[in-house]
């Protein structure tokens, strides 16, 4: 195709910051990486994009010394380098920022930065040296973090900066970031990109692993696409477009926007009046929320994370307690008594795809087939008799759901933790949607989910709506809210700032409302 560079092509004499030649790696019968070759020019931002399970993480783990490649070679600055462990990777100037941070939560920023890079048995000299270096780095790259702050008090965005500082402190010239924006708010992501551009201008080489096309288009110079362990193409970002990249990733044409007909709202399913939730610290997280959802419509809740959306989902899902009134199909729900639990909510026709599938939605150590009954373990079809559960029925149900939702690999006995994020989400979504609930609560439906699966999950949500069900969608991805919702409500500081029609509003207006400006509670 246009713009593709043949792998292994001889280019100019200047050595690349990193060059991989014919890297292969198999785990048993699974070929995670197959004959991968990339060249990353010095001082550039190189994106690696691919669906979950395409082999991106394996490739980076090889580069960082976690795995040893079965074959192939790694050249750093033109020198063949062997990287048997992460210490050698650091010596070779490679720094890695993982998706899940490797920080000691109750250490300060400085302590985390020198951890493993102490100069001697006494900490004081290292700390003061680190303090100086940190101040320089902060000035140079807009990487300002309070060096004495304790990690657990920092926001996710700041914690990520600490990870970057850790790498820079170890004199990394090549920085690998694995899905760095997955946990960030849009503003934090913008800041991160400014930092990355600054690093690039100083001659650092950056490898950005992501599955978000928008980020690739926004910040990278070149992009490599991986699919099923193979490098399908390396192209200049300027010469490609999201549709082409999506097709390269998935191997077929992908619809990047949601295809739906106008909503046909029916009777009111859910009514929420003056809903309040106070957390354990005594802080009021929901401060009088009013909303209603009718059958056959999707209400999207936009907002910066932490403005009460999580609490809204949790109180509706029976996880959190609250005060106020919630009516489901006209019947008032118990918000603080014996029936304010997940079982009662399910019985009332509410299904819940939680925001954090790994913490709430799945038991990660359970096999997939055990997870398909999670929350519905009282359902009659899963019982063999009064005493025993019907494990065979669970397995059969899991197999059927895996087939319908295209979960890969379709192995019911595999533990949930061994599936990729997208496939985990498909298991949760399949479980909740196939219960045919009157109301589906769905939080961050596509966080950490690859493109092919996003398209699929969006279709399922729309199909549920078209079947005359109500959907409450919470997402920090404004795009997702705009394209899926029939009505958009913006939450700020525990309140609904106002409602808009996604067809007539724009990101700017919603963004202002999300910041608590220009909103009016009354329509």
């Amino acid at each position: 195709m246009a713009g593709a560079i043949e792998p292994g092509r001889q280019v100019s004499a200047a050595p690349f910051a990193i060059e991989l030649k014919g890297i292969s790696k198999a785990f048993g019968p699974v070929q995670a990486n197959k004959d991968i070759s990339i060249q990353v020019a010095k001082g550039s931002i190189h994106g690696i994009i691919g669906e979950n399970g395409a082999g991106k993480s394996t490739l980076m783990s090889i580069l960082y010394g976690f795995y040893k490649a079965d074959s192939g070679e790694i050249l750093i600055d033109g020198q063949a380098t062997s990287i048997p462990d992460s210490q050698s990777a650091i010596r070779a100037g490679i720094g890695m920022v993982f998706q899940h941070f490797k920080l000691v939560q109750n250490f300060t920023v400085l302590e985390n930065i020198i951890l493993g890079a102490e100069d001697g048995a006494l900490l004081a000299p290292s700390i003061s040296k680190a303090r100086k270096t940190l101040a320089e780095l902060a000035r140079e790259y807009e990487l300002d973090v309070d060096p004495d702050a304790v990690i657990e008090d920092l926001s996710v965005g700041h914690q990520q900066r600490v990870e970057i500082l850790k790498a820079l402190y170890r004199q990394a010239n090549i920085l690998i970031l694995d899905e760095p924006t997955g946990v960030l708010t849009p503003a934090e992501a913008d800041h991160l990109f400014r930092i990355l551009r600054g690093l690039k201008d100083q001659g650092k080489t950056i490898i950005l692993i992501t599955h978000k096309l928008r980020e690739i288009m926004e910040i990278t110079d070149t992009v490599s696409v991986m699919r099923r362990g193979q490098m399908t193409a390396t192209v200049k970002t300027a010469e490609t477009n999201p549709e082409q990249l999506a097709e390269l990733m998935v191997g077929r044409k992908v619809l990047l926007r949601v295809d739906k007909t106008p909503a046909q709202p029916g009777r009111t399913i859910l009514e929420v009046e003056n809903l309040r939730v106070t957390d354990e610290q005594g802080v009021e997280r929901l401060r009088g929320v009013n909303l209603q959802i009718r059958a056959g419509e999707i209400l999207g809740i936009a907002g910066v994370a932490g403005n009460g959306q999580s609490e809204l989902l949790e109180v509706l899902g029976g996880i959190e307690r609250g005060t106020g009134t919630i009516r489901m199909n006209g019947v008032e729900l118990d918000l603080s008594g014996r029936h304010s639990d997940g079982q009662s909510r399910r019985a009332d026709g509410i299904a819940h795809v939680p925001e954090d599938r790994q913490v709430l939605g799945l038991i990660m150590d359970f096999a997939a087939w055990e997870n398909v009954a999670f929350g519905y373990h009282h359902a009659p079809e899963f019982q063999k008799n009064a005493l025993l559960m019907d494990n065979a029925a669970l397995r059969a149900d899991c197999e059927a759901k895996m087939a319908r939702f295209d979960v890969r690999p379709p192995i019911p006995s595999l533990a949930a933790k061994n599936f990729s994020g997208g496939n985990q989400q498909k298991i949760v979504v399949a479980r909740e949607i196939e219960r045919n609930p009157d109301l589906l609560l769905i939080g961050q439906p596509t966080r950490g989910v690859d493109i092919g699966a996003i398209e699929f999950i969006h279709k399922q949500i729309v199909a549920l709506r078209d079947a005359g069900k109500a959907v409450l969608l919470v997402s920090v991805e404004l795009d997702e809210i705009m394209s899926l919702s029939d009505r958009v409500a913006v939450m700020f500081d525990g309140r609904i700032m106002g409602e808009r029609d996604p067809a007539t509003t724009d990101e700017r207006e919603l963004g202002l409302m999300m910041a608590g400006i220009a909103g009016e509670s009354a329509q």
């Binding site: 009662s344 709430l360 799945l362 359970f366 373990h377 025993l388």
Partner: protein
């Protein structure tokens, strides 16, 4: 770290840990001037080479299976029950009251009654720490440890002030009626012949009434109850809805909340089952072996149960195997004390080493095996 094949994980790791423990034990023996090979052969001969040895090994193993299962069930709910010792002692009180004060026509009925009493008393003793954990957030590890001490003190009080027959100087109850005695291995059909005594000429030794004489062993039919309990625990954990909820809660209490699984309910029910299993141990030692309630009846079996559960990977089958191993160490250690000049306390050293290697240093063995099983580089 490389993931080990299942067979290596389940078989090879414990075997290597045991060999390492044996090697270090050998060094200890050499250091006190003893012959390790002789010690090993005495232990093996004393504990497993004769039916008589098995009669003791399996008696100990029976107790350990019950307490091991007790720890296992609690573990699956994410609860660390260190109180099996106290629960077993209070279970013993239940057995004693049941056997002393109710007229049982036959041991089968007495067994049913005593099982109910033992499990009810053990469960009741576990219920208080469970309630404190579920409702008040007091950590169950702390409270169950404290309840072991309370149980020990309470038992002395009850034995001395209430159950001790007048005139006796021993802090123990009266003997139970003969109708409550459980059949021991040498009294069971089919296997009793294994325990026949022989004269030097090889003939079966007879008592003055002309009946054959048997070697008396403490192992009794509660061993089979223990095996049934293993099956029951396996079914409970992996084939019932309650077990599903217990395991889900144990893996993630947050997710359990999402699913509408009540933390209070699961904590209470699990600890009642766990305490009940610990209490059932008293069927073996109080009813089956002693025939009366002694002070400190559990004799540390509750604590061994923790090691057994740990080594048995909190699976009933593993618990059985680990319990038999610890039974072997108990009985083999006793044989050492009888037949050699090696102090009997050495068995505690060996047990300690086994726990150290199979429990605490398990990861070390895994890492070493991980290197062996690492996929070959091309």
């Amino acid at each position: 770290m490389t993931k080990l094949p299942t067979w290596a994980d389940v078989v090879l790791v414990p075997v290597i840990s045991l060999i390492l423990a044996a090697l270090v034990s050998a060094v200890v023996l050499l250091a006190i001037g003893q012959d390790p090979m002789q010690a090993l052969s005495v232990m093996v001969n004393g504990a497993i080479m004769t039916p008589y040895g098995w009669g003791y090994t399996l008696y100990y193993a029976t107790s350990f299976i019950f307490t091991g299962l007790s720890v296992t069930v609690a573990y699956h709910a994410g609860l660390f029950n260190i109180g099996s010792e106290g629960q077993a002692q209070i279970g013993g009180l239940g057995v004693a009251l049941c056997c002393l004060f109710l007229p049982w026509p036959h041991w089968t009925l007495a067994l049913v009654g005593a099982m109910l009493a033992a499990s009810a008393f053990g469960a009741a003793w576990a219920a208080i720490p469970a309630y404190l954990q579920a409702k008040r957030g007091s950590h169950i590890v702390i409270t169950t440890i404290m309840f072991n001490y309370i149980a020990a003190a309470l038992m002395i009080y009850i034995l001395v002030d209430f159950l001790r027959p007048t005139g006796s100087m021993d802090p123990a109850s009266a003997r139970f009626a003969a109708t409550t005695a459980l059949p021991k291995f040498h009294e069971l059909p089919l296997i009793s012949d294994l325990f026949l005594r022989y004269t030097a000429e090889g003939a079966v030794r007879l008592d003055p009434q002309g009946n054959p004489m048997y070697q008396k062993v403490p192992a009794n039919i509660s061993f089979f109850l223990a095996l049934l309990a293993c099956v029951a625990v396996w079914v409970l954990l992996w084939h019932t809805r309650l077990g599903y909820m217990i395991r889900a809660f144990g893996k993630s209490d947050k997710a359990a909340r999402y699913a509408g699984i009540s933390a209070v309910k699961i904590t209470m029910i699990t600890m009642l089952i766990s305490g009940g299993l610990a209490g059932l141990m008293a069927i073996n030692n109080v009813m089956g072996q002693a025939g009366r309630l002694l002070q400190n009846s559990a004799e540390g079996a509750g604590f061994i149960g923790i090691a057994v559960a740990l080594m048995g990977r909190n699976h009933p089958l593993g618990v059985v195997m680990a319990a038999i191993l610890f039974g072997f160490l108990y009985q083999g250690g006793a044989a050492l004390g009888l037949e050699t000049t090696i102090p009997m306390e050495l068995r505690i050293v060996v047990q300690g080493l086994v726990i150290l290697f199979t429990g605490a240093l398990d990861h070390m063995v895994r890492m070493m095996l991980g290197l062996v099983f690492r996929p070959r580089q091309a």
